[in-house]
Structures are given as C-alpha cells and as structure tokens.
C-alpha cells in the first residue's frame, strides 16, 4: 500500500541528505519525494509517498522524527487530502494532429506552454491519475521528452495554524537580538 507523509524540517544544508540517507540506510522504499519551502521561512516541507506496510511506515515516521532537524511528521494517508502533481510533456506534432492534441489538452485543463513546428510542450497539473491519463493519451502521438514531479499534498479542511520560525530568526534570537528583515526571509541557514 502507498502512504503519504508530510515532514517539516529546518532548512539547513545537508538536511535532504540526512533524510534520504536514513531512508536508504534503513531500506525504506520511497516512491516519490518532493521538497520545497513551506509557509514559514527557514522550514522546508517534504511530501513523501512510501510504498510498504503499516509497520514499515510506522518505522519511517519514527525514524524521521528522530532526526534532530525534522520538526514534525504527519501521516495524511487516511485523511482527506488534496494531492497534486505536475508534468511537462514535449509531444511530437504535425500539421494534421496539432489541433487534436490541443483539444485533448484542453479537456484535461492542461496548457500549451511552448510551440515549435514539429512539437509542443504541454503542462498539466492535477491528481496523479489525471496526469497519468493525459500522458497515456499523448503517448499515441509520440512523447519526445517528459518531466514529472511526484505529488505534493495538503490535508483538507481547517487545521491548527502554527507559526514556525526560520533558522536564521532562531539563531538571531539565540544571540540575543531581533532578526533583521533579511534574516526573516532567509531560507538557508547554518
């Protein structure tokens, strides 16, 4: 079964390698991993899709929580969530099929973001199924190049809002001064 996990971590150099190193070391199977900024400066947010059983996921979560830089881990598999991924697909075109492709992309609410004489780039954002389904369709015309992200996810409904401080702010406070504006929006850190 596939599980979706979200982890928040201090945005420090090496934190991604700590997480991925732990996963490899403990022989956990990661289907996909997305990392980016969260609402709090200095805190990154990772969305994992893990393939395994309940016990393994329990271990993944516990081992993640054990990492000092990881501040929070949620298992949102059972919750109502919004999960989206994105793909850029360069599909081969000709004068005859170009309009057909455009129609299909429109049905999927995708976008044509670049057009060349013999190809175009299609952008699609949606649930994993929808992206996969459009890719299947476009495959009939010949996909020349493709890049696809894994899903990023968020649970639906009202959530408790917690402010998280950035590393730089936290360092500044530890040194007994207020953070400067630059520090508040700094995403790196020590």
């Amino acid at each position: 079964m596939k599980y979706t996990l979200i982890a928040w971590m201090r945005d420090k150099p090496g934190v991604l390698s700590r997480v991925s190193g732990m996963m490899r070391r403990r022989n956990f199977n990661i289907d996909s991993l997305q990392v980016g900024h969260s609402e709090s400066p200095g805190i990154s947010r990772m969305t994992f899709v893990v393939d395994g059983n309940e016990r393994m996921v329990d271990q993944v979560i516990k081992q993640l929580r054990k990492l000092v830089d990881v501040t929070r881990v949620d298992n949102i598999t059972e919750q109502p969530i919004v999960a989206r991924e994105m793909a850029l697909i360069r599909v081969s075109t000709s004068a005859e099929n170009r309009s057909e492709i455009v129609q299909m992309v429109n049905i999927y609410r995708g976008e044509i973001v670049d057009v060349a004489l013999d190809s175009m780039i299609v952008q699609i954002v949606g649930s994993e199924d929808r992206v996969a389904s459009l890719i299947d369709l476009l495959d009939n015309f010949g996909i020349l190049e493709m890049v696809r992200t894994g899903p990023v996810a968020m649970s639906r409904g009202q959530v408790e809002h917690k402010h998280r401080r950035s590393t730089a702010v936290w360092r500044a406070q530890a040194n007994g001064r207020d953070a400067t504006a630059a520090e508040r929006f700094k995403t790196g850190g020590v």
Binding site: R10, G14, S17, K66, V68, V70, R72, R171
Partner: protein
C-alpha cells in the same frame, strides 16, 4: 532543561567575550565539566590544539594523545560508560576523522554519550578535494545521533552547547562537530547562556500513565512473568528499583549483554544473559513465559533469535525511551514509552506482591540441565578460557575500592566472560555489544581507568582483537603508568569466527589462525610487567600477582586452541534451538587444581 547527567550548565545571562573559535571549544568543554579529552592532532585541528595549552597548563583540561584515532573514540566511550558523563574525542580532518568512525559507531550503537570534535579544511577549500579533506559530516551521519559542520565562528558556541545537550539527553548517542580551520582561527563573541531550543528533538517523551497501568495489570495477573532487561536500566540508574520490582512480584530476570549486572547475578531471581550464547534455561524461560517485560532493550537479533518464533506465548510489555525502538523488531502488546526513571517508579506501587513458585521451580529444573550439559564445572587438566574467566572472578570480585570494571573485546572470550563472571554490580561490564568492535577492550579500559584511577580495571581481550589496538599500550605508559590489567585469552585463532567455521563451514579454517608475537616480550618493550600462563594451576597466582603489582600488568593466557562457546543459537534459529556442549568423551583426571567454579 538538562534532565540527566546534566552538569548544571548555566543559562544566566552573561556578557559575550571576544575570543577565537579555537578557544571557544575549550571554554565550552570547561562549562560542560569535561576534564579529559582523547585525541590526535593534525593540520586542520592545530589552532584548537594551540588554544588548549593554557587550559592544560592550568590543569583544567587534560589531553591524552592516542596512537590511533579509533582508540580516541573508544577511550571517550570507556570514560562515558564508566561515568555516565559525556566522553570527548578530538581528531584532525580527513584520515583523522575517518579513523574515528568505527569508534563513534561503537558508541552510538550502544547508546553512549560521546562528542567528537574534528578539524576541517578552511571554508574556501571545502569541496575541492583539498589535502586531508573528507566529507566528515556525510561519512559520520549514519553513525551519529546528530552532527554539525561549522562554517561561521558565531555559530560555534550554540552548536557546542547543542552538541552536548543532544549527546546526553534522552537516549544518549554520538554528536560530531566538524569545524573548519578558518573558523577556529576567526575571532567571535563567546557566550554560553543559550536556552536550547530544538523543536525537532524530543529527548524525554511524556509518559502515558494509562500504559503503565495496563502494564501493571498484565504483570499482576501473569503466572509466568519474565523481565528481559537491557542497557536502558543502567542508563536510567534504575538497578535498585528493578530489583525491588522483581523481588516484590518474584519475577525472574534475563539480561542482554549490556544489561549484565542490572540485578546482581548471584541473586536467585537472576537467570543471567539470554540470546545467542545465553544459558539454555534463560532462553527457555524467554520462550515459555506468559508476560515478557522488556526494559530498556531493543530486541536485537542476538537476543531474539528467529523473530517469528520468539516468545510466542507471551504478552510483551516494552518499556522504552526511544519511540523508534518500539515496534521495530517486536511489536509489543503494551508499549510504555518514556524514561525508565519515571515509568519504573510509577509502576512499582501498582505491582502486587506475588509468588511464582511453580514457574521458578520449572526454571530451576532447566537450570539443572544446563549445569550438567553446558557449564563446565569439572576439574580441568588443560588451560581453557572459561576456567581463566572464573578464576578472574575469584581474584577480583572482592577488589578494594569498589567492584572491578571488566572491559572485554569481542568474540569468544566476551561470551565466556558473560557466562562465567558473576556481575553483581550495574555497569561492571563494559563491552561493545551492538557493533561488536574488535580492539575495543584496551582503549576503553584506559578510558574507564582514567575515570576511576583507584578502581581495578581489567581489559580482557583475545589475541586477535588485542592486536588490533595494542599500540595503545604506549598510552598506558605516557599517562603515568595507568594501573590497567590486561588478560589476553590467547588461543591462536580468531576464536568465534573459527567456531562458526567449525559449525557451519565444515571446519574450513580460512583466515582464522592468528600468529601472535610473544606478548610478554611485547609488554616488556612497552615497559609493562607481564607473565605467560600455560597451566591451570598458574592462573590464580598470576592473577594475584597482577593485582598486587602497582601499575599495569599483562598476562598472556596461552589457552587450549579449539574450545567452543556453548550453548549457541545458530543465526536465524529460534532461541530454544540450541547447539549444546558435547559430553566429554573421557572425564578428565583430577589435575590437583581445586575446582572452584
């Protein structure tokens, strides 16, 4: 706030003092109460060594020069296990740091608080494959609780404080700080009054009292309860409470290797060590119990044997601090997460006084069987290791200045030590249990001896393991003739590997015969008095002489070659599927040695 082993590190506001990064290291170590560091200098750590000189001159911090960085980590580990405080080791970049790794992994696997400080090439050379550069943070991350690369001197004080905090609090472990050389040279402001704020670090999880209640109910209605106790009991300092618990409800206790001595092994409720080389009756008790109370242990494969047949009839209660250990190997029926120092005292009043005579009687019968078939208790003609170990117990267990500290290496002698030495005190046995690092004994014994200069410390090593770190004999001398006593169980083989080859590889002894130098002459070269022992009757006098001689002493026990550790659970087998000792074909004649097993 620091909860345990915490030197009262002040958080009172203080005025920042300008100083170099190198000096900050020693200033922080002083605040943490560190008296001794073990290390080896080199280019990238030189500024820090230079800054040490005033501290050493004033006798505030003592630096011990090791002969190999691995041993710096082992010595810090030995110090930390003996005292419960954080051990500190220091090395230079590149090879110095990579040499540390084995020692750090050893400490981390056994939950020993160690802080390692390494030099790194200057920040402008980072990532350029500079001379003596290695990615130390990357290399050490898998064997550390946490680690840091310091590239800004202003971060250094907080990182130092965090490092000690993380190493010591919760389940102890290893923290490495890799400091770039230019950071050591840079001037910054030092203060140490930070409140530690690590939102991702939860060292002391809240105790769920309903879980304790559930555990108590289960224990109270158990007919065949059993405690399986590990290193955590010692780390929480709960030996006495554990004894109180098991006496109150009459529960027998099996320990892990690192749990040896959690309750006195001469106590009638102690069944000694379980697992791969545990006594048969201890393992049978584990398999037959109806409630298994696991305390501060992690169900290592060496203790459980085949997981799917482990303690099948038992409801399992797991007292554990580290949440990640709960359900990792064995899924407990009642997990009790939290510090044993909180959960055990909370459990005690909920436990009813009980007697389990039938259960204990059953174990007693199995014990008799073990006495007959596994334990060597007849007179010996030849010098065999179990006899040596038992004599070591006779010679040392009444030592002056507190119970002796036995530090073992890894292999057959380690298991015999566990079987034939009666550990009556918590923390009496220091050994590399998790990682199983050969070469551990001598350096760790040096660390333990420095922590307790007046206590009797014995390093017990095989001829194979001893030769991995014997260069540290020089440290014994350089540190003013440390009174470490060394027993080499010399059987001319890498004994445990040979035993496996005998059992599982048709006696093809590939790579296991060990040639050794004359250890007595070797000791002489290091100006350490030494003796070789070849006959059983020489054992006791030699041990007495070693103990009576001030300063270090080495005994080379040239024991019978092919002796096996029994009983043995084959890897992957259930713990009650034991390989037992073959009955001796002809009973040995009386050798004149009083059997004093």
């Amino acid at each position: 706030m620091p909860k345990r082993n915490g030197k009262a590190v002040s958080t009172a506001p203080e005025k920042p003092v300008p100083m170099k990064g190198a000096q900050m290291v020693w200033e922080a170590l002083m605040r943490e109460g560190v008296r001794v560091v073990y290390g080896h200098p080199g280019g990238a750590i030189l500024p820090t060594y230079d800054a040490l000189s005033p501290y050493e001159a004033e006798g505030k911090i003592h630096h011990v020069l090791v002969r190999h960085e691995q041993c710096a980590a082992h010595m810090a580990d030995g110090w930390a296990r003996a005292t419960g405080e954080v051990g500190v080791c220091i090395a230079t970049s590149g090879p110095g740091a990579t040499n540390l790794v084995t020692g750090l992994a050893t400490a981390q696997m056994d939950s020993v608080p160690v802080v390692a400080i390494t030099g790194q090439v200057p920040t402008n050379l980072l990532g350029t494959d500079a001379f003596q550069e290695s990615d130390v943070v990357g290399v050490s991350a898998p064997v550390c609780k946490h680690n840091y690369l310091v590239t800004d001197v202003n971060d250094l004080p907080l990182i130092l404080k965090e490092a000690f905090y993380i190493a010591r609090e919760g389940r102890p472990g290893v923290v490495l700080i890799d400091i770039c050389k230019d950071v050591q040279n840079a001037e910054g402001l030092f203060r140490y009054d930070f409140e530690i704020d690590l939102p991702g670090f939860e060292p002391w999880p809240n105790v769920d009292m309903s879980a304790v209640q559930k555990a108590a109910e289960l224990i109270n209605c158990a007919e065949r309860p059993l405690v399986l106790s590990g290193h955590g009991v010692q780390l929480a300092g709960m030996g006495r409470e554990l004894l109180e618990l098991v006496e109150k409800a009459e529960i027998p206790v099996v320990t892990t290797l690192l749990g040896a001595g959690n309750i006195p092994e001469s106590h009638p409720l102690s069944l000694g060590m379980g697992g791969m080389h545990g006594e048969a009756y201890a393992n049978r008790a584990v398999q037959a119990c109806d409630v298994l109370i696991a305390m501060g242990m992690r169900f290592d494969d060496r203790i459980t044997g085949r997981l799917d047949s482990f303690a099948k009839q038992a409801k399992i209660i797991h007292f554990e601090l580290d949440k990640a250990e709960v359900g990792k190997n064995v899924v407990p029926d009642v997990p009790v997460i939290g510090d044993l120092a909180e959960t055990l005292p909370a459990l005690l009043p909920l436990i009813e006084e009980r007697r389990h005579q039938v259960w204990l009687q059953e174990i007693k019968e199995w014990e008799g069987d073990t006495e007959q078939s596994d334990i060597i208790n007849y007179e010996v003609d030849e010098l065999i290791p179990p006899f040596v170990i038992r004599q070591l117990w006779h010679a040392t267990h009444n030592a002056k200045n507190g119970p002796p500290i036995i530090v073992t290496d890894v292999g057959q002698h380690q298991m015999w030590e566990c079987q034939y030495f009666t550990h009556d005190h918590v923390g009496q046995l220091l050994t590399s249990g998790g990682l199983g690092t050969m070469g551990y004994a001598l350096p760790a014994a040096i660390g333990a001896q420095m922590a307790f200069p007046n206590r009797l410390v014995w390093a017990v090593a095989g001829d194979g393991g001893f030769q991995m770190t014997l260069q540290e004999l020089a440290v014994i001398k350089q540190e003013g003739n440390l009174p470490v006593k060394i027993a080499i169980i010399n059987n001319g083989f890498l004994g445990m590997v040979r035993q496996w080859q005998q059992f599982f590889y048709d006696k093809r002894y590939t790579g296991t015969p060990v040639w050794s130098p004359d250890f007595v002459k070797l000791a002489e070269a290091y100006q350490i008095p030494a003796l070789a022992v070849t006959k059983p009757e020489e054992v006791a006098p030699a041990l007495d002489k070693a103990i009576a001689t001030p300063g270090p002493f080495l005994i080379d026990f040239r024991v019978k070659e092919e002796v096996n550790v029994y009983p043995m659970v084959a890897p992957g087998a259930a713990v009650d599927q034991l390989i037992r000792r073959p009955k001796p074909a002809v009973m040995q004649g009386y050798s004149g040695v009083q059997p004093s097993w």
